[in-house]
Amino acid sequence: MSRSIDIKLRVNGENVSATVPARLNLVDFLREELCLTGSHVGCEHGVCGACTLTVDGDTVRGCLMLAAQANGKEITTIEGLADSGQSTALQAAFTKRNALQCGFCTPGMLASALGYVNAGGAADRDAIRQHISGNYCRCTGYQSIVDAICDVIEETRT
């Protein structure tokens, strides 16, 4: 049970090697070992989306993936997205549209939104709503979040 595994991965562009308990999940590894506390934990079983981050360009739940499974992969957290400028337009739109209140859902929401935008998603409110339906927000009622994502798509494609 207490078996440990050596892993090597890239996190936000930096090489990381660590020895982790086999059952440690990725989001706990990032939060506790690397102090990247921007990824949040809301349910720990894959429903709320607060832990959403990017692994090799795909949007994944950090609470459903083990740190051991991240071996050899490229992880980008909210901190990395912000530093690299990948999410600049979304950040600005979320701020302008007031698409956050308590902010706890925001890092996961941005990661999901970025997945949608990067995949060439349309500025179609229905499609956006379906796409982010795996990310809960208890505060905003989602209206402003959909507005913000729409804005970014419209601005970058015109």
Partner: protein, 776 residues
């Protein structure tokens, strides 16, 4: 001027970069220990033995505490001293903390907590409203009763009567950030606690009692919460006290956070209610008498149940002038989580009772429910009347009082309803829906417009006070502190806008700092929607003290008249001269002028006797109205909200962007309560829906397809901060229009009245459709 601007949330930049810190994100010193509760597995019984051998032996465990190990007060209740941190001999609900594990990690603590062997002598448990009624298990000696006129006679003499009952379920807060606390032992016997709480002063108080130290030995800090909604008014006490006693016992920093399942199993929720009603009315739908019996399921400890149930009574008139009303309220004690504060604080439940009556009356008469509602509204505040609620009425307006005797003099819902019905095209859509329903046998649509009148102030009068601390530094930057807490509602920004406006500087020059019991003492919870009303005024008072000192000094120094001094645009104009605000601060400092002040505010005019049910519990009312349109599938019960239009009264809004955000979020949460969020306890009292996999809150795809929200931007007749109105709770009750629209859709399936209970899940909608189809 900074107030009234739609500025974005002050912490937006931190949130979008992941830099905003919640309690669990605060870097902890080496050696920080982690806690978990061992919980009761039964709903009611005596503990016969506790064997913790395996728990202590489990990997990473440093210590295990039981009630016997607590040297001082073992209590985390906000009121009646009836809620031990760790059970003493008996247990009263499934999930009640019995022992406390202190371990080297969160996971190891939780694992160890499951290894206890506890033997119980099980006793019969009271789980439902019926169980509690049968056993006469309640808080307070008997029901509370408020009345006006003679409801029984009025109903007897009325041309028409209806009778019915509505059940409304509980609701989990589902703040996205779970409960969390961190205690850091200091030198001597001092303790610093970081807590995700709406009520730092209460945390300080409970921690001090548990440690056997005076309040001045405990400092509580709250930078932000990841959502609160009332769920962090008292429910954080257990974690903070657990951390503090463990930190004292071990000498190490201690942190505790509930994982989601523990959070849902241990903490209290919105009270579920049953409301029985009888009403008498005339052929125009005008209600002459109404009688309510409200049953609130309060759970095992008193917590805030008395004021919650009071507020349900105080909202059983909603927007309607009831000349004869009787409201009887039962506060029932059950073996379930201790129900607690939740956005609206009983108001939504009380309001839903009278909205159901209006809907039922309309159905009985075959009238548009909106016509019945408007026929029963209080009269609008006459345009020329600057008077405010509770004030004396002069002129043309006839006196109109609530069932608890408070004058309503600021009513505006006739005008607002007219404006909303027009903007949302209510009449036309209602006709179109009737036509559509006649042509569609399977899918049915429904529409409803419901009003909200919500009383603003704590009903416990002495809580209506607030303090602030403001420093101006010699470089002109401002440090702002007050007793309110930030849970996402934007309170900090609104209050900073007030400070910036008082000094005529940009809001960016105001540093918003964490709520801290060492800076502002004896604060009330950030609750009852009162955050910006109270703290905004306290901050204004502090800023005005400093301003007055500056003006005094400038008058003497420059030999100008007081009126010649104006704070604006980052400058102070002194006659025909202008100095940067920063230069004025520096000059004042060099001339030995104090640039630091406290501010204090207490709400005027409120006085309330909750036993008699008389007086003026509220400073003023907030208003609003919403129209929801829904569609249901009569074969499956599935349903969705197609369109919602809301017009909401925020007074002269301090920040329209924040206020609209509050309204949107509140509606979705309110509609969630009434349509999809269902808590299910089994017959052993175990909560079966203790995670989002089984408890469904609204996702983005559940919100209305079309969603229009606007503010009714008109000054509050009462002297509130820049004439704004409180906005946290009132819009939650717009969710009622979604339930009433579902009822309207179901009503089109047959002749009988739907009597739709909440939450109107697909299952319940389907059952109700079947009933209406068969005329029962």
């Amino acid at each position: 001027m900074s107030v009234a601007k739609p500025l974005p949330h002050d912490a937006a930049k931190l949130h979008v970069t992941g830099a905003a810190r919640y309690v669990d994100d605060i870097p902890t010193p080496r050696g920080t220990l982690h806690l978990a509760f061992g919980q009761s597995e039964i709903a009611h019984g005596e503990i016969q033995s506790i064997d913790l051998t395996e728990v202590r032996r489990s990997s990473g465990v440093t210590a295990v505490l039981t009630a016997d190990d607590l040297p001082f007060d073992n209590d985390v209740s906000p009121s009646a001293h009836d809620e031990p941190l760790l059970a003493e001999g008996s247990v009263h609900y499934v999930g009640q903390p019995i022992f406390l594990v202190i371990a080297t990690s969160h996971l190891l603590a939780r694992k160890a907590a499951r290894l206890a062997k506890i033997e119980y002598l099980e006793k019969p448990s009271l789980l439902s409203i019926d169980d509690a009624l049968a056993a006469n298990s309640r808080f307070e000696e008997g029901p509370r009763i408020y009345q006006k006129g003679n409801a029984t006679n009025a109903i007897k003499q009325a041309d028409h009567t209806i009778e019915g009952v509505i059940e409304m379920g509980a609701q989990e807060h589902f703040y996205l950030e779970g409960q969390a606390a961190l205690a850091l032992p200091q030198e001597g016997s001092d303790m610093v606690v970081h807590s995700s709480t709406q009520h730092p002063t209460e945390i300080q108080h409970k921690v001090a009692e548990a440690l056997g130290v005076p309040m001045n030995a405990v400092r509580v800090e709250v930078r932000r919460m990841g959502g609160g909604f009332g769920g962090k008014e008292s429910q954080g006490n257990a974690l903070a006290v657990a951390c503090a006693v463990s930190a004292r016992a071990t000498g190490q920093p201690c942190k505790m956070r509930y994982d989601r399942d523990d959070d849902m199993i241990i903490t209290g929720k919105r009270h579920d209610f049953r409301i029985k009603y009888k009403a008498g009315f005339d052929a125009h739908g005008r209600v002459s008498g109404v009688d309510f019996i409200q049953y609130a399921r309060c759970g095992w400890a008193q917590d805030l149940s008395l004021p919650v149930a009071d507020r349900a009574m105080l909202h059983s008139d909603n927007a309607y002038l009831l000349e004869n009303a009787r409201i009887e309220s039962h506060r029932l004690k059950t073996n379930t989580q201790s129900a607690t504060a939740y956005r609206g604080f009983g108001g939504p439940q009380g309001m839903l009772g009278i909205e159901r009556v209006m809907d039922h009356v309309a159905h009985a008469l075959g009238m548009d429910p909106l016509a019945v509602r408007r026929a029963n509204y209080y009269a609008d505040l006459p345009a020329e009347n600057a008077g405010a609620s509770g004030g004396s009425l002069t002129g043309k307006m006839k006196s109109q009082t609530t069932p608890y005797g408070m004058e309503v003099t600021d009513f505006i819902l006739h005008e607002m309803t007219g404006a909303l019905a027009k903007a949302a095209d209510y009449e036309t859509r209602r006709l179109a829906i009737a036509k559509w329903n006649a042509q569609n046998p399977i899918l049915k649509k429904g529409i409803a417009l419901t009003p909200v009148k919500f009383g603003i102030s704590f009903t416990l009068t002495h809580l209506n006070q607030a303090g602030a601390l403001v420093h101006v530094y010699s470089d002109g930057s401002v440090h702002l502190n007050h007793g309110g807490t930030e849970m996402g509602q934007g309170l900090f920004l609104k209050v900073a806008q007030v400070a910036a406006t008082r000094f005529g500087i940009d809001v960016s020059a105001v540093k918003i700092t964490a709520t801290d019991t060492g800076k502002v003492p004896n604060t009330s919870a950030t609750a009852a929607s009162s955050g910006s009303d109270l703290n905004g005024m306290a901050v204004k008072a502090a800023c005005d003290t400093i301003r007055a000192r500056l003006i005094d000094f400038l008058v003497g120094h420059f030999g100008v008249a007081q009126e010649a001094i104006v704070f604006d645009n980052d400058e102070v104009r002194i006659g025909d001269k202008a100095l940067a605000f920063a230069d004025v601060a520096k000059l004042a400092y060099e001339n030995r002028i104090s640039l630091s002040a406290t501010g204090f505010y207490k709400t005027p005019k409120v006085a309330w006797d909750r036993i008699k049910g008389e007086g003026r519990p509220f400073f003023y009312f907030s208003y609003g109205a919403s129209v929801s349109e829904v569609v249901i599938d009569t074969l499956t019960g599935e349903n969705r909200i197609l369109r919602t239009d809301i017009l909401h009264d925020a007074g002269a809004s301090l920040n329209p962007a924040l206020d609209i955000g509050q309204v949107e979020g509140a509606y979705v949460q309110g509609a969630g309560w009434l349509t999809m969020e269902e808590l299910v306890w089994d017959d052993k009292g175990t909560l079966r829906t203790h995670a989002p996999s089984t408890y469904k809150i609204p996702a983005c795809s559940d919100r209305p397809d079309i969603f229009n929200v606007s503010l009714w931007d008109r000054s509050n007749p009462e002297e509130t901060i820049y004439r704004s109105k409180a906005v946290g709770e009132p819009p939650f009750m717009h969710g009622i229009s979604a339930l009433m629209a579902l009822s309207d859709a179901i009503a089109s399936c047959g002749e009988s009245y739907p009597s739709l209970d909440a939450p109107a899940t697909p299952e319940r909608v389907l059952k109700t459709v079947e009933r209406v189809k068969h005329g029962i």
